[in-house]
Amino acid sequence: MSRLKLFLPLLAFVALAGLLYRGLALDPTALPSARLGSALPNFNLTELHSEELLSPSQMPDGPYLLNVWATWCYSCRVEHAFLRDLSDRGVAIIGLNYKDDRAAAQQWLADLGDPYGLTLFDPQGTLGLDLGVYGAPETYVIDQQGAVAYRHVGIVDEQVWERTLSRYWGEP
């Protein structure tokens, strides 16, 4: 018994090493949305182009991506081409133009192409705040029930789509 006790430090070391090794693969800044599993918060925002007043009831049936973007956000420009690609593949994307200028945002989409079925214009960032957005770009998956199923912070690219987002679209 007392001999086995001698192995305790070794066991403790192995356990700690395992824990730390697992930690290497985790992203300490990853922060799941506090809205997971609940419906979109209520909003009354205008459409970027038509200026028509929109509320959650006018959102399409899921699944769709809700992409938070702005013209001041450099990374949004980077991911834009891939969003257009996704849109061409038939993935529904709603834009949330976050704390931006209407004319600048319209120009941006005219120049770079518009992957969004609808774009909510949120100049004060009110829906952003209610949704828990803390920077752009962020992309939310809204599922068939209209609930927030996933949040991705940062650029969406082929890898992010393949590994995480596409699973909400089932088998293609």
Partner: protein, 165 residues
């Protein structure tokens, strides 16, 4: 003579530096200020903005951070304080949107329990180990002292023998 000219030149240069530096605009980051209707609100604003964590720059509170989201949250905090919301309502509002993460003192629940009691458990464990090892070696020093006295005695005896030879 030459030296006097030098020293005057240097003095002039230093003086110019001081004047220029004093004249420079302040360059440190300015965080906006809010006017509150009462000192009590201002006090609560200060307390809450230090307790709320910035979701973007994760090791700063919103009072310290210059991130746009921290500015937005400060504005929201000031707005809600002026509207008459109490601390619990404001914290609940933030947690609903940004999760328990935004609080530096999160509520005790099954997810945060380990944060709250973990350090105390570790402290207890450490204290237990120290206590045990102290108690165990209780007889040790006395035994060592005896051994040293004995060894000293033996040495002295041998020295004495050598000297008398």
């Amino acid at each position: 003579m030459l030296w006097r000219g030098w020293s005057r030149g240097i003095r002039l240069l230093l003086g110019t530096c001081v004047v220029v530096l004093l004249g420079l605009p302040e360059t440190h980051a300015v965080i906006e200020t809010y006017q509150f209707s009462s000192a009590e609100l201002e006090q609560r604003y200060r307390m809450l903005s230090q307790e709320l964590r910035c979701p973007k720059c994760q090791n700063q509170n919103i009072a310290d951070s210059n991130a746009p989201i921290a500015r937005d949250l400060r504005a929201e905090l000031a707005r809600q304080l002026e509207r008459g919301a109490n601390d619990e309502e404001i914290l609940a509002f933030m947690v609903e949107r940004y999760g328990e993460f935004v609080r530096y003192r999160p509520e005790v629940n099954d997810q945060t329990l380990v944060l709250w009691i973990g350090p105390w458990l570790l402290l207890l464990l450490g204290a237990g180990i120290v206590l045990r090892s102290v108690r165990r070696s209780g007889e040790g020093p006395q035994g060592d002292a005896n051994a040293i006295t004995a060894a000293r005695g033996a040495l002295r005896k041998r020295l004495h023998e050598q000297e008398t030879e």
